[in-house]
């Protein structure tokens, strides 16, 4: 139950000074964390938005192609629509795997060090 959990203990950690933030911001470890996040998330975002827009544009301007029947009454339009669902699930899974493997350990290490004041 949500309310039975102990109160958060984070407030007791000290908040690093602006100088410490600036220092960590320039550190190789942080620069690598940021690169690892951005080089994954940014291209992937552009990719799925392009794939979605392609689907919207095909719906608009390629009616004949989208109406092609594949099996029974199931046509290309429906299949591509459902494919958007599938790619959404896959991308969510892929990003979460990347984040757990590549981002979380680095982020955690920096956070622990900064909050303990070392």
């Amino acid at each position: 139950m949500a309310t039975d959990a102990p109160p958060p203990s984070k407030e007791q950690h000290k908040l690093p000074s602006p100088e410490e933030f600036a220092e960590v911001h320039e550190s190789a470890e942080f620069v690598e964390l940021r690169r690892s996040y951005r080089s994954f998330a940014f291209p992937l975002t552009i990719g799925f938005i392009a794939w979605y827009l392609l689907y919207v544009l095909l719906s608009n301007y390629a009616g004949g192609f989208m109406g092609t029947k594949l099996f029974g009454n199931i046509n290309v339009a429906l299949l591509l629509g459902v494919a958007q669902f599938v790619t959404t699930f896959l991308i969510a899974w892929w990003y979460s795997r990347h984040a757990a493997a590549k981002l979380d350990p680095k982020a955690e290490a920096i956070k622990t060090r900064m909050e303990s004041g070392a």
């Binding site: 933030f21 827009l53 109406g67 009454n73 958007q84 969510a92």
Partner: protein
């Protein structure tokens, strides 16, 4: 049988079983009020009121996010849009789901790491507090009110179907009742009460949708091709019903409207304040990510089932009957429940009552989430940080939030009666367009663009907001169309129903322009701090 008789049939069917319907509604209301009072007792400080104590698990929050997101638009609106326009209605389902990737990849975790209670916390982080928080509060309230309008329209529609109330007074009464309930939920239960109401609602909605989907598929021996075939035939439009273009394919302008809607849907979610504040209810960014994943799974499953709801309604009910009941198809899902059970049977009436109660629960939970987002933003961004200049105590903030809840409740009751005949999904799409134009550019620039300045933030929030709302005002949604809010007048010169294609790029452009033209230097230290905090969670609340 004429369509008019059919509508009365649905209402009569409902009226015979009115005690059952009222009992189901009352049960939900009583259960949720109980939760609210329980949650109210546990709400002691500002973190409890705004963020539910930040102790919800990722799964609980994922469920609540789903409950907050799957609104009357998703349930009533999409089913109706597919039932009337076939494949074109399905775009809503796809856009509403894909949009979650923007929230997952770019917004949820940094927001959880660097904010405290509101969207404004992140936008104002490295900017001059007072102007940016005023702007963030303004756009939060405007977006939420657009969204509220849609939910209120859905409530009015449901009640006229169920209780046969067609008089304006009757509808206004029910809208007032919804408004009153939401004031109680939010002002007493805060985020904790609202979250539990949303979880209960999500379970009910998913359960109800699975039931209807199962019954539809059973009718067609689980052969989707046969379902689609009969939908196409029964719609009177043949194969075109299963292809894109029925609603938007007629002219170059309507095709542009389709693109505009598509863009607004995919970029809107990550700028919706009532969704964003949900990420503050979990302990850390990792839990925020996991709750988005749960939400994507739950919401995705639900939207896949809208295929069965929408095409099922088209296959089993005549177009005339759907339109006669509500010109935009908003009652297709409850009508489908009635037909699945059998129009003259008790079973049909029970199904109709159940699905209507689910829709009612859906509306109440979303309305509560929206009200909480706007009253939080008023109290935390505008009252505490602008009016009191950061000197208000937590207790004073919460008191302000409770009063703001009452005020917003009254405003949305007042607006509720205006939008009855518009498709609920179309109305929500406007809220998405405003969110994507005013909020998303500023969120992304704030988090990822070092040079971004206060002036850039203000230009992009106000620029996106004014252009999006302005274009809606002069669109066929407001005037000059039989289904418009004011059908008797015509001052519509903007041809598209959704402004996204113009207003979203404009919001981004203004943010860039405001920044490069500003005389102030960006605060590099503050940006370094924001970046470290948003990526690592150091010092997160």
């Amino acid at each position: 049988m004429s369509p008019v008789q059919h509508t009365f049939l649905a209402a009569n069917e409902a009226s015979e079983h009115r005690p059952l319907i009222i009992t189901l509604f009352a049960l939900f209301v009583l259960a949720t009020l109980g939760i609210t009072i329980w949650a109210g007792r546990q709400t002691k400080d500002a973190a409890d009121f705004y963020a539910g104590g930040r102790q919800f698990s990722a799964f609980q929050n994922g469920l609540a996010v789903s409950g907050d997101y799957m609104s009357a638009a998703s349930f009533l609106g999409i089913a109706g849009a597919i039932a009337l326009f076939g494949y074109d209605g399905f775009l809503y389902s796809i856009g509403f789901l894909v949009a979650w990737l923007v929230a997952l990849l770019l917004v949820a975790e940094p927001l959880r790491n660097s904010g405290r209670y509101t969207m404004g916390d992140v936008l104002a982080y490295r900017m001059r507090q007072r102007p940016v928080r005023t702007a963030a509060g303004t756009s939060t309230i405007v977006v939420s009110i657009f969204y509220l309008l849609a939910q209120m329209a859905g409530a009015g529609v449901l009640v006229s179907l169920l209780l046969g109330i067609t008089s304006d007074a009757g509808k206004i009464l029910i809208v007032a009742l919804v408004g009153l309930l939401m004031i109680v939920y939010v002002s007493i239960g805060g985020m904790k009460g609202t979250t539990w109401v949303q979880m209960v609602k999500a379970v009910l909605l998913i359960g109800g949708t699975i039931l209807i989907t199962f019954l539809v598929l059973l009718k067609f021996n689980f052969n989707i091709s046969d379902l689609l075939g009969q939908a196409a035939e029964n719609s009177g439009k043949g194969a075109a019903f299963l292809e894109p273009g029925l609603q938007y394919g007629a002219t170059g302008t309507s095709k542009l409207d389709f693109i505009s809607l598509g863009i607004a849907l995919v970029l809107g979610t990550a700028g919706l304040p009532h969704i964003l504040i949900r990420f503050y209810t979990v302990p850390d960014a990792k839990a925020a990510r996991k709750s988005v994943n749960w939400a994507i799974g739950i919401i995705g499953g639900f939207y896949l089932m809208t295929i069965a709801l929408g095409f099922g309604a088209a296959a089993l009910i005549s177009q005339d009957e759907i339109i006669a009941s509500n010109p935009s198809g908003n009652t297709a899902a409850p009508l489908l429940a009635l037909h699945l059970g059998g129009v003259d049977s008790t079973w049909g009436a029970i199904l109709l009552a159940t699905i209507s109660a689910v829709a009612f629960a859906t509306i109440l939970a979303v309305v509560a989430g929206l009200t909480l987002a706007s009253s939080s933003s008023f109290a935390h961004d505008i009252y505490a940080n602008v009016i009191r200049k950061g000197k208000a105590s937590g207790a004073e903030e919460v008191r302000a939030a409770r009063w703001a809840t009452v005020a917003i409740g009254v405003v949305s009751i007042g607006l509720g009666a205006l939008a009855r005949d518009l498709n609920v999904a179309g109305l929500v799409a406007l809220a998405f367009a405003v969110a994507a134009s005013a909020n998303l550019p500023t969120i992304l620039y704030s988090l990822f663009w070092k040079r971004f300045t206060t002036q850039g933030a203000l230009w992009s929030i106000y620029g996106g907001l004014i252009v999006a709302v302005g274009l809606v005002l002069f669109s066929p949604v407001v005037s000059g169309d039989p289904k418009a809010m004011f059908p008797e007048v015509d001052f519509a010169w903007f041809p598209l129903k959704n402004p996204g294609i113009i207003s979203i790029p404009f919001g981004f452009l203004m943010g860039w322009l405001g920044t490069v033209l500003s005389k102030e230097e960006p605060d590099a230290k503050k940006y370094a701090e924001l970046e470290v905090r948003s990526l690592t969670g150091t010092g997160a609340h």
